[in-house]
Symmetry: C2
Subunit: 540 residues, 2 copies
């Protein structure tokens, strides 16, 4: 067989040649821009030449600070196409983290949306490696930025030929994109994606979720979030219409209008968006979901009642998926098997609210964190999700120290603790570092938190382990009472509420009532902070 | 990203672990055998051990002489799984060719269906490399064969463990299967398929044809024909139910019963089968196609009127595909694009009767055989289909001489001449060697034959080039009159029939009336033979 590499350019070239009329739609605040694969390809070629003219070479990093729009789409193909590495920057990063990762990645050029320059201006002097700033402007005017040297994207590329010799004489293992993931401790960690990984990931995402040429992909998940879950590449591989909604992803009225106007069939997003959408619908918001076929949710758990109501009231059938920056990101999807068609709805939803079955091509070990043995597929035995496969990272970029603890013995140790039922569907129960070991047995802090939060007087609850001489650890519940119930709630009332809901030995001995639970930058409970502030107050 | 190889074993291991209850059904003359991925996996493991016990090592060739049944399915995974190469033998080969290719491949073990031993016995002494014969018996009894040493498949494997350490520490470019293609001149030529090629091919076939876990794959195409078009691997990748119909593929009543009993949704086969099926249906044959979703036809052209009638009368919607042994085999599929939904039926059928658009991942050049330039996408300009991509062969096995002429400049030169319309759909017009060059212009012998065969008094017609001093070549029509019309038909009547149907200069000057057209072993016009026998009779 030919030694022919798996390159992302192959997808775009085929789309440009055989599906040149299929649309790529980019929605801006002041209007919708439409073009097609034929035109997009030409601009990707111009971009590739332009990058060369800036001195960009194989393996150089090129940063994007951008939402979902057609120029960002061109960067997705043009940058890796000419051999450079696209570094997608999360526009919500703190200035410190932004500076850190750009310097760490060594970004040589930075592409910035015209309405985001003001976030870059204040830190520009700290960006040690950036030689050129490029403003991606739909209005065609240069904003009042102090960045320098700076040029408008369209001005930069317009003078170059509309064809570029994308060559298949390249190594598929070359880097195509890089993305940093926020760490709970220390600086963000970089994950480098190869052409090969993204290529294979595209095919498997498409096959698993049943994508096809007639799908219209609406990219709700930001393009700076783990390669937009691979959807732009999948769309090009199939010749799908693609819709880039820009800032409209946070405006539910606009988002619903895009869905119905463009007849979107396939969309991916985080639960936050779907919850906002649900709220909008419940308030009577206008919508037409008749075109929608596939809705993917991932990044964190989607509440069950919401998934049920979404489907029952609005015909919005959500497929929950699991993944992370280190996994390109797709790992698993909670799609019921065909022989379950006649299962009772309740049992089907038990499966749909798991994180699903691992994708074809990947290998899973659910590893007991003490013995290293594989957990049983009984829905109870817990283990850490360990993965290997062609689109699983093998290291963090230039970070051997932290790579060592996460990538061990050839496996990615995700830090996620899960159970797996006998049908192979995984449910996340905790993060490794948050599990509580009591009397030789594990307690899932997440399960315990959910049980406590079901108490009517509890707004939020976080559970951490506290050292215990006899049991090694015991759970400590940090509880935020519901507004106005601060004086009614007591440790005893919560304990008695839990009596028949969880194993007796899971019930916390200690309760601490707080005004709020400290959160991380991405809104998760900051248990490290809790341990630091709450535990010392308990020392006897 | 991890350096994780693309191995076929990955598919089966996942299916065995997460879809162990999904069925594999094998239909025998005397009854249907059912088991599942869980059980099949265990037997594949036993087989792998058994091959080791026979001394089979990495890269050794293991032959199968078998129709579509569950033991052949186990060979598909067990042989490449343990590192050997499965050589699928066409059971319709002439004894000479069978002996040639087995000796050429150096097959060390030969697995034979229990009702096919009698075809091997007569040539056994000529098989220079075979050390073991294994009879795949469903009845459990050894047939009266003189092959030696010989053992029953189930006896061979039963004593071995049901688990095998299939390792991912292997090179994905290792050979997995080998298949020989009959050449019009000389000995058959071998094509070696790597794990990587078959793996990628599976994903792309599935994505292109929209296969999913809920599909039930009915393997009508023989498993000795170009990897059964990859469908057994695709099925394992997705966890699909698979049905192996054995000899029933030639018994239309039995085939229809299998389709309805097993609720087959997806099937692949050559036009010969679909024509037999159509005849059976037209005679009022019992059938229920309500489960059928995807029918693939390939290998040769499906007549348009048959495709239309199939759909209109029986709801059997055929997707015509193109490929060959050298391409694993999938190259292209004639699936209309979504924006053509409202096209008139006639125009849609114009596309459905092409060989379609090239699959994602492959690269095509439609190459003018004189200038080497790319043909225009205008539906008229002709060129040779030249391909490259990860599942395109780069050579014939141990045949440098013939490899050189077919694999040139990094491209497979298919020898198929096609046009491509502006939507990218290709139509085959001829084989390179059958094109006729007249006055500096090309004449498609196939198009000309079709025009002549539309004449009511013509049963068959083959057109070959005859040397011409003035025009270099002129077409010569070899015509078989319809039964009973031998005395009515004349060259003049055919010429005048062609007047308004083709370009004037295409009309043959010479006509030869024959009793029959000589055919090759696969039923195609043997033009080499025609040139040899007919041309000398014309010499003036």
């Amino acid at each position: 067989m030919m030694n022919y590499p798996l390159l992302l350019t192959t997808f775009l070239q085929r789309a440009a040649r055989f599906f040149p009329k299929k649309e790529i739609v980019s929605v801006y605040a002041n209007g919708t821009f439409r073009y097609d694969y034929g035109q997009a390809y030409k601009r990707c070629c111009q971009l590739a030449h332009a990058l060369e003219s800036l001195g960009i070479k194989h393996g150089d990093r090129v940063a994007s600070f951008s939402l979902n729009n057609h120029r960002h789409f061109e960067l997705y193909f043009g940058v890796p196409g000419m051999g450079a590495v696209l570094h997608t920057l999360n526009v919500r990063l703190s200035p410190e983290h932004l500076v850190y990762i750009m310097n760490h990645a060594g970004d040589r050029v930075m592409f910035i949306d015209e309405d985001l320059w003001f976030m870059v201006d204040p830190v520009k002097d700290q960006l040690k490696t950036v030689e050129h700033f490029v403003i991606m402007s739909q209005s065609g005017t240069m904003p009042p930025t102090t960045l320098s040297p700076v040029v408008l994207y369209d001005d930069l590329i317009k003078k170059f030929p509309e064809d570029y010799p994308f060559s298949p004489d390249r190594d598929e293992n070359e880097a195509a994109l890089i993305c940093y993931t926020s760490a709970t401790t220390g600086d963000p960690k970089g994950v480098v994606y190869s052409h090969r990984a993204l290529y294979l990931h595209s095919l498997v995402v498409g096959l698993t979720l049943g994508a096809m040429e007639r799908d219209c992909l609406l990219h709700v998940v930001p393009m700076f979030h783990a390669n937009a879950w691979g959807a732009p590449f999948l769309g090009a591989a199939l010749g799908c219409k693609q819709v880039l909604p820009g800032r409209q992803i946070l405006d539910m009225k606009a988002l619903c209008k895009i869905i119905s106007d463009e007849k979107a069939t396939f969309t991916c997003g985080v639960p936050t968006i779907w919850m906002m959408l649900y709220k909008y619908l419940e308030e009577g918001g206008e919508h037409d979901f008749s075109s929608i076929r596939t809705v993917v949710s991932g990044g964190s758990a989607m509440p069950r009642h919401l998934m049920e109501s979404f489907r029952d009231k609005y015909g919005f059938n959500i497929a929950q998926c699991y993944g992370m920056t280190e996994t390109t990101p797709f790992v698993s999807a909670a799609i019921p098997k065909s022989y379950m068609d006649n299962w009772p709805d309740k049992e089907l939803f038990d499966l749909k609210t798991t994180v699903g079955i691992i994708a074809t091509g990947l290998e899973l070990r659910l590893e007991n964190i003490e013995t290293g043995d594989e957990a049983k597929m009984d829905g109870k035995d817990m283990g850490e999700i360990c993965l290997r496969g062609p689109w699983i990272a093998s290291e963090y970029y230039k970070d051997p120290e932290r790579s060592k603890s996460t990538f061990r013995d050839g496996w990615l140790h995700t830090g996620d603790i899960a159970t797996m039922n006998e049908e192979g569907y995984m449910s996340l129960v905790d993060r490794t570092k948050d599990l509580i070991k009591s009397g030789g047995e594990w307690i899932s802090s997440v399960d315990l938190e959910n049980a406590i939060m079901a108490h009517p007087m509890v707004l939020e609850a976080a559970v951490i382990g506290m050292p215990d001489e006899k049991w090694q650890e015991r759970p400590l519940a940090c509880v935020v009472p519901s507004p106005g119930r601060e004086n009614e709630i007591s440790a005893e009332s919560v304990k008695s509420f839990l009596q028949d809901k969880i194993a007796k030995w899971w019930i916390p001995d200690e309760f601490v009532f707080l005004k709020e639970i400290p959160k991380t930058s991405v809104g998760k409970f900051n248990k490290k902070e809790l341990r630091k502030t709450v535990l010392p107050t308990l020392k006897k």
